[in-house]
Subunit: 200 residues, 2 copies
């Protein structure tokens, strides 16, 4: 069995963005396969009763969460700036992600969407903006949008989200090595150890 | 100005116990002074509205918190076992800690209390048990208990707790390098960088 790291994420999660930037080096080091699992973070929150750190009601905790995000981004060496349109409804965007996977163009999609969201501060909840970003990356935005609205894409995103919750997720990013769950970019070091402990 | 790391802790916090085990190496590496700041975590929770991870109402999150604690302990190489008496009212114990500081016997006190709490699972909320532990460490339990009940010790513990909250603390362990706050053993690496960035 090949080593596999599953990455459950939502483009609207800045912590997932930071984690994403750390994955190539970690995956190379572990000699593992990275499996992207787009999910709807809002769905995870709804199912579990959890909330975004950005809406944490305890002020000192919310402030520390924002500071932590900046520290993690600096540590990962990734450009980060708060998105002025946050929070953005990512339902359609995440449906596009699963549609891109089904169409075999996910790598190009993924490589462009995260920087646009958390590096350039674009409003990817606006379909015109999103279409422009995708076209600029050489993708067929109209075809992806059509596929994203098909029942198969809707069902696939819902299935990923439900699966994440069923396996114990309560936020993003969430990683799995087998059935073992790791939450947050900060715990990727534990995931790495779990990967390295597996027989290759 | 000498490099200083302030450590706000409560013996009832297992995360603080894990952090405590990591401090000697970190302090030596940074060439810094460690300043122990006993506080009442229950007072911090009351003032901020925060709660113990052990009482987190979202089940998946609470379960992950417990797993995280074990991972942190293993990573720190420190023996840890859940205290069967948890949660323990630590008010008197923390008053004893500040009394031990005032009496100049804190090092011996501290070295014995944490292992008794989170390694041996003793009920240090029970004064007879606590007296036995302290006597076993060569401390004068009766004198410490007397000092812990004096207004000075009560006021000192309250002042530490209030100061922690005023400076942004919402849980334990909380560290400061100057005015910069670091929460959790996991963020000690950022505190180390802040210490190293200071001119010695």
């Amino acid at each position: 069995v090949a080593r596999r790291l599953e990455f459950f994420f939502d483009y609207g999660s800045p912590y997932s963005y930071v984690a994403n930037a750390q994955l190539p080096a970690l995956i190379a080091r572990a000699g593992a396969a990275l499996v992207y699992r787009p999910m709807l973070l809002g769905g995870v929150f709804k199912a579990t009763g959890n909330r975004s750190p950005a809406t944490e009601p305890i002020e000192a905790k919310r402030r520390y969460g924002g500071l932590t995000l900046l520290r993690y981004a600096a540590e990962a060496g990734v450009a980060f700036r708060p998105n002025p349109h946050f929070p953005i409804d990512t339902l359609f965007l995440m449906r596009c992600a699963v549609a891109a996977q089904r169409a075999g163009v996910f790598d190009r999609f993924h490589a462009r969407v995260y920087p646009a969201f958390w590096g350039e501060g674009l409003d990817l909840g606006d379909r015109d903006v999103l279409a422009g970003v995708l076209s600029g990356a050489g993708l067929d935005a109209a075809a992806l949008f059509g596929a994203a609205q098909a029942p198969e894409a809707k069902a696939a995103l819902r299935a990923n989200t439900d699966e994440a919750v069923a396996r114990g997720a309560f936020g993003a990013p969430t990683f799995f090595v087998g059935d073992e769950l790791f939450f947050g970019s900060d715990h990727l070091r534990f995931a790495l150890r779990a990967l390295e402990a597996q027989s290759a």
